[in-house]
């Protein structure tokens, strides 16, 4: 029977949750790296035993950990992230030029085909790649040196490159998203980039339809249709049917279209999930009810999924990297909260059960489906 392994990054360590295909009884291991902020952990699709983890504190900086046995043991690998060439400046919160400074790795995206190749999205926003299993990292500087970069500005959480999507049908095509510069695409394996934000409207910036400057919180795709992208923007849930060339809003009947994560069902490319949050100034669910919203029509029409989720007095948040799906026949959906719960649904969202309730604030959730 297939198994699932859920990789959870929290403010104070990492946890590995494992279950068989029924997903009703869970083994919990951790904390790994107790006391450290674990922004993200992710497994290699090419070798599920190979895991990468981003470990940091403001005291001791950034570390990258690698496991070759599915998270039982870990080894620190390379942690030197040096921007390539002159760093230049972006805009600071007060609108003045500010030099690029490395702060942390937000997201690790292993190659779908090579366990030793992994991408890192960092703050201040840039994309790095390792081709030796994380021992050494080199920037792909074409993104940070894009002509628009001097005008990029941080979001409230810092100027982070938080999303990396590798097109499974085209190894040359990469999508990334930066808060708050927007979404960019490379069609030459990361050498050159261009913004793909047409159709986004952000009232919080001087020109709401500017080419860059949008606070994109997350983008997602289904691997069978890499030209169709879904986006949770600061406000607005968006969709592109042309690989980001243009976007249109699909918020429909959501109670709020502010939120952080967005994900796609493993087998139904038109079934998507978001977690509405009340507003950009009140980062908790509307009405104190934790509801995942599912659209089976690729947007516009949404249904609240509430069974097993707290429907009163709930004021947690769900961060952008804290939702994932497994690939079992009945698609499992998982998300973690800033209150330390990790919820799982073994029936595509119809019902939910907490796997754990009392972890530190959850920063990221990833799932591996294992044979």
């Amino acid at each position: 029977m297939s198994r699932v392994r859920v990789l959870v990054g929290t403010r104070k360590g990492a946890f590995v949750l494992e279950a068989d295909g029924k997903r009703d009884r869970w083994d919990v291991s951790g904390p790994h790296f107790g006391g450290w902020e674990m922004y993200h952990l992710k497994g290699s699709p090419a070798d599920p035993s190979r895991l990468y983890a981003s470990q940091a504190t403001s005291w001791f900086g950034q570390l990258i950990q690698r496991s070759d046995d599915g998270g039982k043991t870990w080894e620190p690998v390379g942690n030197q992230f040096v921007y390539d060439g002159a760093t230049g400046t972006h805009l600071w919160y007060d609108g003045t030029p500010h030099p690029w400074e490395f702060a942390r790795v937000w997201h690790l995206e292993p190659s779908p085909t090579d366990p030793d190749t992994v991408y890192a999205g960092v703050e201040d926003a840039a994309l790095f790649r390792s081709t030796d299993g994380g021992k050494t990292w080199r920037e792909l500087p074409g993104l940070r040196t894009h002509e628009s970069a001097p005008c990029w500005q941080p979001g409230a959480g810092g100027m982070c490159l938080h999303t990396i999507l590798l097109d499974p049908s085209d190894p040359e095509r990469i999508f990334i998203a930066i808060s708050s510069a927007g979404t960019f695409r490379s069609d030459d394996a990361g050498t050159t980039w261009r913004p793909i934000n047409r159709g986004l409207v952000s009232e919080q910036i001087p020109n709401p339809t500017a080419e860059v400057g949008h606070c994109v919180h997350r983008i997602a795709m289904h691997r069978s249709r890499p030209g169709v992208l879904f986006m949770q923007k600061h406000w607005d849930v968006m969709r592109s049917d042309d690989a980001g060339e243009s976007w249109h809003e699909i918020s429909g009947n959501l109670p709020s279209d502010f939120g952080f994560p967005i994900d796609v069902h493993a087998h139904e490319p038109e079934t998507i999930y978001v977690v509405p949050i009340k507003s950009d100034s009140e980062h908790y669910p509307p009405e104190g009810k934790l509801r995942v919203y599912r659209s089976r029509t690729g947007g516009h029409e949404w249904e609240a999924l509430t069974k097993g989720l707290p429907q009163r007095d709930c004021y947690v948040n769900v961060l952008r990297d804290a939702m994932a799906v497994d690939a079992l026949d009945a698609c499992g959906v998982y998300f973690g909260t800033t209150g330390g719960q990790v919820y799982a649904s073994a029936d595509a969202g119809d019902s939910w059960t907490p796997i754990v309730r009392d972890l530190p604030a959850v920063l990221s959730v990833e799932v591996q489906t294992l044979p």
Binding site: G35, W36, T57, S58, W59, F60, L63, P76, N79, Q80
Partner: protein
């Protein structure tokens, strides 16, 4: 022989006990001690001082002989008691 006491997170990272001992060639300074420490425990590179600038990470402090030496020059001699191993760094 130089004795170095690491904070708990770095002990875990380097898989060592509270105190490690190092041999340092030449003058005993912050730089030479940290060079020897990082040579022995490469996983500590970047956690105490920046990879490129070699500057102390802002929250990390260097103490010895009941003194805060964090703002001393990295090339200034450490106290004799550290150099002789009587006191830890």
């Amino acid at each position: 022989m130089i004795r170095v006491v690491l904070p708990p997170h770095l002990r875990t990272l380097a898989r060592v006990e509270r105190e490690v001992t190092l041999e340092v060639e030449g003058p005993v300074t912050q730089r030479s001690v940290l060079d020897a420490l990082e040579a022995r425990y490469p996983m500590l590179r970047g956690t105490i001082r920046d990879h490129v600038t070699q500057r102390r990470r802002p929250f990390v402090r260097f103490f010895a002989c009941e003194e805060d030496l964090s703002h001393e020059s990295p090339d200034a001699p450490l106290p004799d008691a550290v150099a002789t191993g009587a006191e830890s760094f």
